[in-house]
Symmetry: C2
Subunit: 149 residues, 2 copies
DNA sequence: CACAAATCCTACTATGTCAATATGAATAGC
DNA sequence: GCTATTCATATTGACATAGTAGGATTTGTG
């Protein structure tokens, strides 16, 4: 049970695009690859997923690049997870006979479905906008600190 | 990002052992395999992990079997996860240069560390005892219902 | 002691997923 | 028509998981 690098990088990439397209310009994938130290080819895979998830739209051609396709506060963490990770957790054990509640069914209903809701509560309330704010704050702090050195 | 079957079954097995050893008797692995529809050999793997995690102790010999090695309210979900799953989530990205806070570091600190704490809050508060109670309640309900058919 | 039934231990295999690469097609501007 | 970009698909290698196999060890019992 871990966060895949595709998800991890996907979020970084989204944040990068959001930050570097604030004036309406598009962001080339090669820029992102350089800034974030990601293999360009692998980045294209990630961008494919992000595009299919309707988070970004690409503009082809010589002055092409990427942009968010909706405001950052409408991009939820749960949607990113669903778009970039196949196995987003869902324990779907079904008992053979529905009459008696066996242990496996009970654990499935009581534990894992609660766990799912709990996770959803987090991932549905976290937006890309939050991450951008976090970044701006933390990078701001750091700069202040460095001024005093 | 999914719960491994080893974890899922491990919890079922622990619950089974807890329920069927309430009077102090030990539970044979073949019983468990039958009740829970698990391959006996695979079950032994799971029990190995549970034993190494100090959740159960086995008694060898002809009248051997398994028992919990501590009270069910001292067996935490987080411990089970750690014992049966290698990749319990930990995003440990470290920036190359520590001077500037880059996007990746920021996401790591703000998002994933929060996510970790959030998860820990759940898994540290869920005990095997809770699961047993859940099972007893749900199986009780079911029986009541069936009486009225 | 010998046997039987259980746990315990280690190695192995097959399958699948993930990370990453490779190749090239489609598109848009100059 | 050239170039730089996105878009799409196939492939590879490494690794983890699920499950199997065989046998060693222990313990009670006749």
């Amino acid at each position: 049970m871990k966060i895949t690098t595709k998800v991890e990088l996907g979020i970084v990439v989204l944040t990068d695009i959001a930050l570097y397209s604030e004036n309406g310009q598009v962001v080339r994938s090669s820029e992102i690859a350089d800034r974030q130290n990601i293999s360009h080819k692998y980045l294209e895979q990630i961008l494919l997923g992000l595009r299919q998830g309707k988070f970004v739209k690409g503009q082809k051609g010589i002055h092409g690049g990427y942009q968010l396709s909706r405001p950052a506060n409408r991009i939820l963490l749960c949607d990113i997870l669903n778009a970039l990770d196949n196995n987003i957790l869902a324990n779907t054990y079904e008992a053979d006979d529905q009459q008696a509640v066996d242990i496996r069914t009970s654990v499935n209903n009581c534990l894992w479905s609660n766990f799912n809701s709990y996770m959803r509560r987090f991932t549905e309330n976290m937006t890309l906008e939050d991450l951008i704010k976090d970044y701006k704050e933390s990078s701001g702090k750091q700069k202040d600190y460095m001024y005093y050195i």
